[in-house]
Symmetry: C2
Subunit: 653 residues, 2 copies
């Protein structure tokens, strides 16, 4: 203790204290997240003992560049705040510095001195402080300070002294140039800055092999045929299940049958065969050149291809033969297949991340991602990241981002909350959520309040999916189309990033394999080629198109933090709003897909930024109907047969 203090003190007692700096994830162990153009609003408590004033600055930089420094604003009660805009992609650092502000302390007490002799004497103390600042200044600043110091030291006219002490300009310089003795610095903190799509993205998932419209195996070229339609619906990410050769050994049949029949195409997640592994392309989809064409073709339409990273192998994956050490063995010497007793997944070998040969393994896995990145892919959806070690992901994402900081990773971890949060902290840009299973008013309100307002929002960005090829949630099993509409509206307006297993959602595919027993689809597309009649009557394409259009038009829907819920007097009516500056979107959803519901909404006008007595107009962007509203209480009635929701833009004044 003695030594530490003695070392820290040198010749003065450093007494400024910085506490409670935010944003801060686990004491600085992890970075906060932002996208380009966003602000980082930094707050802290900073103070010194007694009545000593302190100065506080925020320093920030894109990593490996020089520091910028701005003064922090004093908020009262020892609180400080400053903000900086992150205008380039990549890691940024920030730190708070605080030191006793002797100049300001002097000035504040000088102004209270009423006794002439007392003030004259105090002025000489001020002169010493200003002279010390002058020694740190140059050019015209130095001249100003030197002149001020000499007035404070020598002037005998008390009026002129007071005038000199009131010189805001000169004293601003004196404070800025003052020595920072007795100061301290916060822990170094960081922000990962990504491109905007990390925050605002609209995903469409489909199987390329099911794009011919008949039973033939689709190719990348067939997929490209669908791009105009997908782009017209307003999607910006086209996410493909694994595109690699599918294992033949132990291949699963339709409906997950243990034995495949001749002609069964198998699951794309059973990766690898004699034709190649994670960097190869399934022959019937096309060539490497076709893939590059696909990527370019998507880009031309304002979309990106997202690939699936599923680090597991079919038994005939080349690695099984080339690197047997990368797989755990059972006591009989056979390779340990995936299992969750009594279930066995003999068609999938998990990778042994703690293999003795882990260094080569990890690098091979990194090279898989790097390969596709070099093929033009900048978004990866990672399959089950929670079943692989945490340090692996932190390392892999760091390696990839060092080469290309534009790369976005989506974590498909449907698991316990703390594990999902840990993966987000480690670097995943976005995360799948529990939205898929949150259907009631209270649970939606609670969950989205957590997602938008808890401190975890600094690192956990939700991406909400009503369905996936793995998940036909119980509440959508055999449910009417109107239920799918409700879920589409909720996902599109509650979350800045959302996605869908597209063809199934467009058509309201609701047939479960084992109703109420599992969330598997009947005749799941995971095991067969599907023919989707996308023009079938009653499809959701118009609604989805409209929703995605509204999302593009309204900045309010492009970020998550402004979400506010508004009470309603009906347990089936959910009302919420988002806001970005003057852009306001207010949504009222009827959660009951079968019955008309109506009720009174009590608006939290403050969260909308609307003065209590100002009239405003709400325009339903789904129906184009507009209503004049006023005050907090307003009536809503929604018929699921017509429209699941109002998605209002709000026009004030």
């Amino acid at each position: 203790m003695n030594d530490r203090l003695a070392g820290a003190l040198v010749e003065t007692a450093p007494d400024a204290v910085i506490e409670n700096v935010k944003p801060q994830v686990d004491g600085g162990r992890f970075a906060a997240k932002r996208v380009v153009g966003e602000s980082v609003v930094v707050t802290c408590d900073a103070f010194a003992h007694g009545h000593e004033k302190v100065a506080c600055v925020l320093r920030y930089r894109p990593r490996a560049q020089g520091w910028s420094e701005i003064p922090m604003e004093f908020l009262g009660n020892d609180r400080w705040r400053a903000a900086f805009v992150v205008d380039t992609i990549g890691p940024w650092d920030y730190v708070v510095q605080c030191w006793p502000d002797h100049v300001e302390s002097w000035r504040e007490s000088f102004a209270r001195r009423i006794d002439r002799d007392d003030a004259m004497l105090a002025a000489r103390t001020g002169a010493q402080l200003v002279a010390a600042s002058a020694a740190n200044a140059s050019g015209s600043e130095r001249e100003i300070l030197t002149r001020l110091a000499s007035i404070l030291a020598d002037e005998r006219d008390i009026g002129k002294l007071r005038a000199a002490a009131a010189d805001e300009t000169a004293f601003a310089i004196a404070r800025r140039r003052a020595p920072r003795e007795g100061g301290c610095e916060s822990a170094a903190l960081s922000v990962t800055v990504e491109r905007e799509r990390a925050r605002f993205s609209t995903w469409y998932e489909l199987f390329p092999r099911s794009t011919t419209g008949d039973s033939r195996h689709g190719s990348f070229a067939d997929l490209e045929e669908r791009f105009d339609a997908i782009a017209a619906m307003g999607f910006d990410v086209v996410y493909l299940p694994p595109i690699h050769p599918i294992g033949h050994e132990k291949r699963k049949g339709r409906n997950n049958a243990t034995t495949a029949q001749p002609g069964d195409v198998g699951s794309p997640w059973a990766i690898g065969s004699a034709e190649g592994g994670h960097t190869a392309i399934h022959r019937e989809l096309g060539s490497a050149s076709d893939f590059r064409h696909l990527v370019r073709s998507a880009k031309l339409r304002g979309m990106e291809i997202a690939l699936d990273i599923a680090f597991q192998c079919a038994p005939d994956h080349p690695w099984v033969r080339e690197h047997p050490d990368w797989f755990a063995k059972r006591p009989d010497g056979t390779i340990q297949y995936a299992e969750n007793p009594p279930k066995k997944y003999q068609d999938i070998y998990p990778i042994d991340f703690s293999s003795k040969d882990w260094r080569a393994l990890w690098q091979a896995l990194r090279d898989v991602v790097a390969h596709w990145m070099r093929e033009g892919v900048e978004i990866f959806r990672v399959d089950n990241p929670h079943t692989k070690p945490f340090p692996f992901w932190e390392w892999l994402i760091g390696e990839i981002r060092a080469e290309n900081p534009r790369v976005i990773f989506l974590s498909e971890a449907f698991t316990r909350p703390r594990v999902m949060h840990r993966l987000a902290k480690l670097g995943f840009s976005q995360s799948y959520t529990y939205f898929t299973w949150r259907v009631g008013k209270d649970e939606l309100t609670e969950y989205f309040t957590e997602l938008s307002a808890d401190e975890s929002r600094e690192y956990f960005r939700p991406n909400c999916w009503p369905n996936t090829p793995d998940i036909l949630p119980y509440h959508l099993q055999n449910a009417p189309l109107s239920a799918f509409r409700v879920r589409a509206v909720l996902a599109a307006t509650l979350a800045a990033s959302y996605g869908m297993y597209g063809p199934a959602l467009e058509l309201g595919e609701n047939r479960p394999r084992d109703p109420g027993e599992t969330e598997e689809y009947l005749d799941s597309e995971k095991y067969e080629i599907k023919r989707w009649d996308l023009n079938r009557a009653g499809n959701l394409r118009p609604l989805i198109t409209r929703l995605n259009h509204i999302r593009k038009e309204h900045a309010a829907l492009q970020s998550d933090w402004s979400l506010a819920f508004h009470p309603t007097d009906n347990a089936q009516l959910l009302c919420y709003s988002k806001r970005a500056g003057g852009d306001r979107v207010l949504v009222a959803v009827n959660l009951d897909a079968s019955n008309v519901q109506s009720g009174w909404v009590t608006l939290d006008l403050a969260s909308l930024g609307i003065p209590a007595d100002m009239p405003f107009t709400v325009k339903d962007e789904l129906s184009d109907a507009a209503y004049p509203w006023r005050g907090t209480r307003n009536f809503v009635m929604l018929d699921p047969a017509k429209a699941p929701a109002h998605v209002f833009s709000v026009h004030v004044g």
Copy 2:
């Protein structure tokens, strides 16, 4: 990143994670606080990736002794908890360790295997794990594990295998002795353990010089004459303003007059004269031997003397001459007196803690505290600690506690909240609070909820004072005796530690020097010898005696964390309870000192631990009246002319 991981991994991927360990003050920078016999309940999140189970232990020790280790209890959702009792005074350390629990993971999955061949094979994996545990065991534990491993490896009867896998005793040993590969450890955290009085104390402040009952200067012997009465009232700490020689130079007169008249005794806080400084005793109080007698005399009555540590000097303090460097100079070479422009305190020189000679200065100040500690004093009330550098207090308290961990420090920092909290973190055992100015129902509820429930309770222990020699709060200026009664009840029952400027509170001294302008008393005892007629009719001695008796009888009132407020339908009726196991105290206070108030209390029976439909009896420990109550709603009426409050003990069943 690569290197860090490579270093950490060695040959396996360490994947267990520990987050959010509590208690934890500023990430472990400061210690939490407890008193002997209390528990430290440690919680954390701990988990590994995927479905891997983890084991979690809490390790703790009195510093410099060996570690004890106990398993943590799994609470679900990756939360863990364990508790240890701190049974000796001094610093303790604790840390959480977590590692993948392969044994338990194996056992859990083995139980789910239904296929015989599959189970036989899996048993051999179990055998390997148990054998690894056996290698860490000895004696009979080793024998048990070796036998178990050999059954799992070789037994061909599936029934016998399952029986072996169900052996709780053997597997508990296997888990305990398992290698902790892939594990991790939390940051090292600490607890400062003090004696019980740090948490539960009852303070009486008086000026020794005002104890003769007439205008003569009192001595330690006169003070001892009062000890029986103070002890009979139930106090356990007698706190004395500074007992040192009082400066003659610039001495203040009565009512803080700039010039003293002949015979004026001066302020005890203007410390030091030619007769001595901070280790000397004011001649008229007595000798060092008299002081030691005083300390022993208090102890015989179950009380302790608390001294005042006021690190400032009168102009004629010996240090001013001997160590001029320890005081800041003004530009004219004179010593800087204390000031808060336009106010000047020419009778007090602040010490310059950042003096060039600070090392010698700090040691001298430490020696002052050490001197009185060696004279038998183990409680210090520190005057204005917030006007001295934070590092100084951390160092000083550490030095003193290293010599005698029984020493208790009370921080008299009536300043901004974050400064008060910082001092508490640095080591002060107790802190003065804003209670003195919290009078309304809402503000009392809010403030005491913060004190008892916020995380700051881990380090900030309140000591509540209705008045001090410096503070006759506005709400007590010219207030009736009943108002003083209300404040006494609140302090004694809301806070486990409370104190009073005794004679003034006993008599309801309510005369301000400048009503509504300052909080100074008229004819303040700080500047003159007072004659207190402590037997005057209407004094508070019976109430105070009763309150302190109730505090001693009821463990519920001896700690702060159990405080719960109960709603009432009258803004002047405050109702709250405290609980320690089966001991429950429920208080209803009429905050209106002038009018009868009545209303309905809605009890939070859960916080009292009373089943909803169980009848209970409340016995007013002030009046001895008892009432049968039932359910949540109960009626209360309080006449301030008779009693300011009910202080009920609650008897269930």
